[in-house]
């Protein structure tokens, strides 16, 4: 893509006053920030003797960003940088080192090809601004052979179609990857079809029912207005016949979801809410048809179709609330499909989907790659970031023989791994199983609504039957009139408000939480959350950010020079401690420049040959710092550490700790003020846990917990009558998350924990915990109010219907108003904000 011409154009572009001045005023490019990704960039003046990684004039942090910027500008799309807004909470738009090809993505198994045209769907990671949609689409539109490229901002998916003869998928995916986005293919057919089909059916049924209801009601208004002004029976009959003509096909079409469900439960000899609904609607239509043929005064077409319309709305909202949860789970599932590089017996490499890898195969894991399988190291020495599994922020050294788990990140050097578990043993299968379990599990309150329905349906049926028999045999009315009264009982008791009351509140609440970055994953989570009275936190990654930060123990003012030198070495490494060191140096106002000629020794540290001798940064053994300073012996207690050894000087120690999230203390205090019991359960050492507990103000804590210890503690709390909200991340928290009555996970947590948790929150702050609790409590109050309103409505109208006082007009008005009142009540959730 980067032809010489394009690059030349880009340079010209970069020098354009418009572009430059803009970049200078908005942040990126100014104060040593990278023009492309907004991360700190070393400037040319500060750069040491090393090789410049960027384009040399300090506007970029790395060559990947420089290339991405040239690509964007060269295509005439530099407007992108003006249109976007950088969000510091999000993953920076930094191209990966191996960008340019498809990045090992196994595209072939996801591409659908027909008549030389290929289609693929991909999940886009790093899509945060509307301008990204524009950039991706524009870049792809300029590639030859692309038929269409469309990014859906709601689902974060890219639908790509191209002509097979002119280009290939890997090339197109590479073009987007070079911009810094990550693309993961997924199979639309497998994930989507069932829900989409049901949703489509409901929306179409709703549209037809709405159209018919509107028109039939208009005709009803004419009939009622005409009745008071002396409309002739012939005109009235005509209007009734037209109503029948509209209503009957519409009910036959739009009523199918209810009829089908009612039939299937009746076949099994049970009954549910759909039975009285179907019965009421069908009887009403049949009776109205009979009345119309007889030329009678009243027909119930409007009630029947109106009822159907409101019920469809409720059903659709219910599906929507669950669909949101599901699409989040689908996203996780799609992200889990990481490609695996398999080594053949002859040393040749093949990229395979994890599902196709078999135990016993040899897999190559590059440095910086997330491990996709469970296995044992055969060759190579490296360090593995296991934060996703055990929440430990310091990488673990691995050597041949060490067991590796899917989801961990290989940091330092390539590894060859023998596969031990695939298929049902893999993380992906576990995620899928957990999602299925979550789908099937329904909470207490919906179960209560179902119990109400199970009780309600027979009561309604017998009430209708009793009023029919009572009026026909008891009061001696004509059987037609008695049947009419029985039908009006069925219609008026139809649980319009009841069917709307819960879904409306849930949809509005989940929408509100979604806007605050909180994802509701289970339909009943809100209800369980509102009942929580005890909150248990995990430490690493939950109360803390799970990232090491330099603590000031060795950062004496005299060591500023040492810090600068250490940061210069550390800038060459991706090791978390090295990155923390660079961040700390920047926080001290030191401009970090990448030193040249740095060699990374896997599992040990960094070294660089200078004029005076070898400078080393790494473990104590690596730098050979035995007799250095007064701090010996307590090192391993305080936390992870790095040592800097310089020729002719004493070694300097840097100590790191995992600091609490910025607002952790405020959030804990707020929770305690609201009357929640707060506890801390951690697998970490007592000294560290005590320090964090004291820092955030938690009195009850327990250290050194294994996953089963955590579950036991939760069970003990539950035994005492506490309803526990568990907040945690790592895989070691997953059992506890599942055992708690409701659970919350940060979005940075391992996939399995996110799946086990009922809610997922984004961002570096802990405040969403309070927000979720407040919204849940308020939503639960509204659900109860709505159920109460629906019950009051039924209590007043059923006697009227049994007494035979309900005309079609009253039935229609009562039904609509009760539904509107319930919706309006639910909308109050949107208005008041949480401080």
């Amino acid at each position: 893509m980067a032809t010489p011409r394009a690059a030349a154009v880009a340079d010209e572009m970069g020098a354009e006053p418009g572009v430059r001045s803009h970049a200078d005023t908005t942040g990126p490019g100014a104060e040593g920030r990278c023009l492309h990704c907004g991360l700190p960039a070393p400037s040319a003046a500060d750069r040491g003797d090393g090789d410049p990684p960027g384009d040399g004039d300090g506007r970029f942090c790395c060559s990947g960003c420089a290339a991405a910027y040239r690509l964007v500008a060269g295509l005439g799309l530099a407007d992108y940088y003006r249109r976007r807004t950088l969000d510091p909470d999000q993953r920076p738009l930094k191209p990966e080192d191996d960008a340019g090809d498809s990045g090992g993505v196994d595209l072939a198994s996801h591409v659908h090809t027909a008549e030389g045209r290929s289609r693929v769907s991909l999940v886009v990671e790093g899509l945060h601004w509307a301008a990204c949609v524009w950039l991706i689409e524009s870049v792809l539109a300029r590639e030859p052979g692309v038929i269409s490229a469309r990014v859906n901002m709601t689902t974060r998916r890219l639908a790509l179609a191209w002509r097979e003869a002119e280009t290939d998928g890997d090339r197109l995916v590479g073009a987007v990857r070079r911009l810094g986005y990550r693309l993961v293919p997924f199979d639309t057919e497998r994930l989507d079809s069932e829900r989409r089909r049901r949703e489509g059916e409901l929306v179409r049924a709703m549209a037809v029912a709405g159209f018919a209801a509107g028109n039939v009601m208009l005709l009803s208004v004419s009939i009622w207005a005409g009745a008071s002004q002396g409309m002739g029976p012939a005109t009235r009959d005509l209007l009734h016949w037209i109503s029948a003509l509209i209503a009957m096909p519409a009910i036959a079409y739009a009523g199918r979801p209810f009829f089908r469900s009612a039939l299937s439960v009746l076949r099994m000899g049970r009954t549910n809410m759909d039975v009285p609904i179907s019965l009421g609607v069908l009887l009403a239509v049949a009776m109205s048809l009979y009345q119309t043929a007889r030329g009678a005064e009243h027909a119930y077409f409007d009630s029947a179709i109106g009822l159907l319309f409101f019920l469809l709305v409720g059903r659709y909202l219910d599906l929507l609330a669950r669909g949101r949860a599901r699409s989040a789970a689908e996203h996780l599932l799609a992200l889990g499909t990481k490609a695996v590089t398999v080594l053949g017996s002859g040393g040749e490499r093949r990229v395979l989907a994890p599902a196709r890898v078999e135990p016993g195969m040899s897999v190559l894991v590059a440095a910086g790659e997330r491990i996709g399988i469970d296995g044992r190291v055969i060759a190579g020495v490296s360090e593995v970031d296991t934060a996703l599994i055990d929440g430990e922020s310091v990488p673990k050294p691995v050597a041949p023989g060490t067991r590796l788990f899917a989801g961990t990140l290989n940091l330092a050097a390539p590894l060859t791994v023998a596969v031990t578990a695939v298929g049902d043993g893999t993380l992906l299968a576990e995620i899928a199983r957990l999602i299925e379990a979550a789908e099937q599990q329904r909470g207490r309150y919906v179960a209560l609504a179902d119990r109400v329905a199970r009780l309600y349906a027979p009561v309604v049926h017998s009430l209708a039957l009793l009023s029919f028999l009572g009026w026909w045999l008891g009061a001696g009315a004509a059987w037609q009139d008695a049947l009419l009264i029985a039908i009006s009982v069925l219609i008026i008791t139809c649980p319009c408000a009841l069917a709307l009351a819960v879904p409306v509140v849930h949809v509005i609440a989940s929408g509100r939480l979604l806007r605050r970055g909180i994802l509701l994953k289970s339909g009943t989570a809100l209800e369980r959350l509102s009942g929580a009275n005890t909150i248990v936190f995990d430490k690493t990654g939950t109360l803390t950010l799970g990232r090491s930060r330099l603590v000031e123990a060795a950062g004496r003012e005299a060591d500023r020079a040492a810090l600068a030198q250490a940061a210069a070495l550390a800038a060459a490494s991706r090791h978390p401690l090295a990155r923390a060191l660079v961040r700390a140096a920047e926080a001290h106002g030191i401009v970090v420049t990448v030193a040249g000629g740095v060699i990374e020794v896997p599992g040990a540290g960094l070294e660089r040959l200078t004029a005076d001798g070898i400078m080393r940064l790494g473990s104590r053994a690596f730098v050979g710092a035995q007799g250095s300073g007064a701090t010996d012996g307590e090192g391993s207690e305080a936390g992870p550490e790095l040592w800097l050894a310089r020729p002719g000087e004493a070694a300097v120690r840097f100590v790191f700790a995992d600091a609490p999230r910025d607002d952790a203390r405020a959030v804990i205090t707020a929770l305690q003020q609201r009357g929640y019991m707060v506890e801390l359960l951690s697998g970490d050492r007592p000294a560290v846990v005590a320090a964090v507990a004291a820092a955030v103000g938690i009195a009850t804590w327990q250290a050194g917990c294994t996953p089963s210890d955590k579950v036991r503690r939760l069970e003990a709390l539950a035994g005492r009558g506490a309803r526990v909200l568990m907040v945690g991340d790592g895989l070691n928290d997953a059992p506890a998350l599942a055992a708690a009555s409701v659970s919350l996970s940060p979005a940075t947590a391992v996939d399995v924990s996110q799946t086990a948790a009922d809610l997922v929150f984004q961002g570096d702050r802990l405040a969403p915990v309070v927000e979720a609790l407040v919204v849940a409590r308020r939503a639960q109050r509204l659900v109860k109010q709505n159920l109460g309103l629906a019950l009051i409505y039924n209590a007043t109208t059923i006697p009227l219907a049994v007494a035979g006082l309900v005309t079609p007009l009253i039935a229609a008005i009562a039904m609509s108003t009760s539904s509107l009142v319930v919706i309006a009540n639910a909308l109050r959730l949107n208005r008041r904000s949480v401080s």
């Binding site: 154009v9 354009e16 572009v19 060269g74 509307a130 949609v133 539109a141 901002m153 509107g214 002739g232």
Partner: protein
């Protein structure tokens, strides 16, 4: 009241056209991305070939 014989069918036909339009929009995927559409209108999509595209940028 003979006018009803014309007006009611006319009203129904108009309504049916609306319904058909909605079902068509639904089928052609116009409700699939409600968030993106709000922003898309802000992008000037100058479908310029790369050759002249640059002359226009940044000025």
């Amino acid at each position: 009241m003979d006018i009803l014989l014309y007006l009611i069918p006319a009203a129904l036909v108009l309504g049916l056209i609306g319904l058909g339009g909605f079902l068509w929009a639904l089928k052609s995927g116009q409700y699939d991305d409600l968030d993106g559409a709000a922003y898309r209108i802000l992008f000037e999509d100058d479908e310029l070939p790369p050759a002249d595209g640059t002359a226009h940028e940044g000025r």
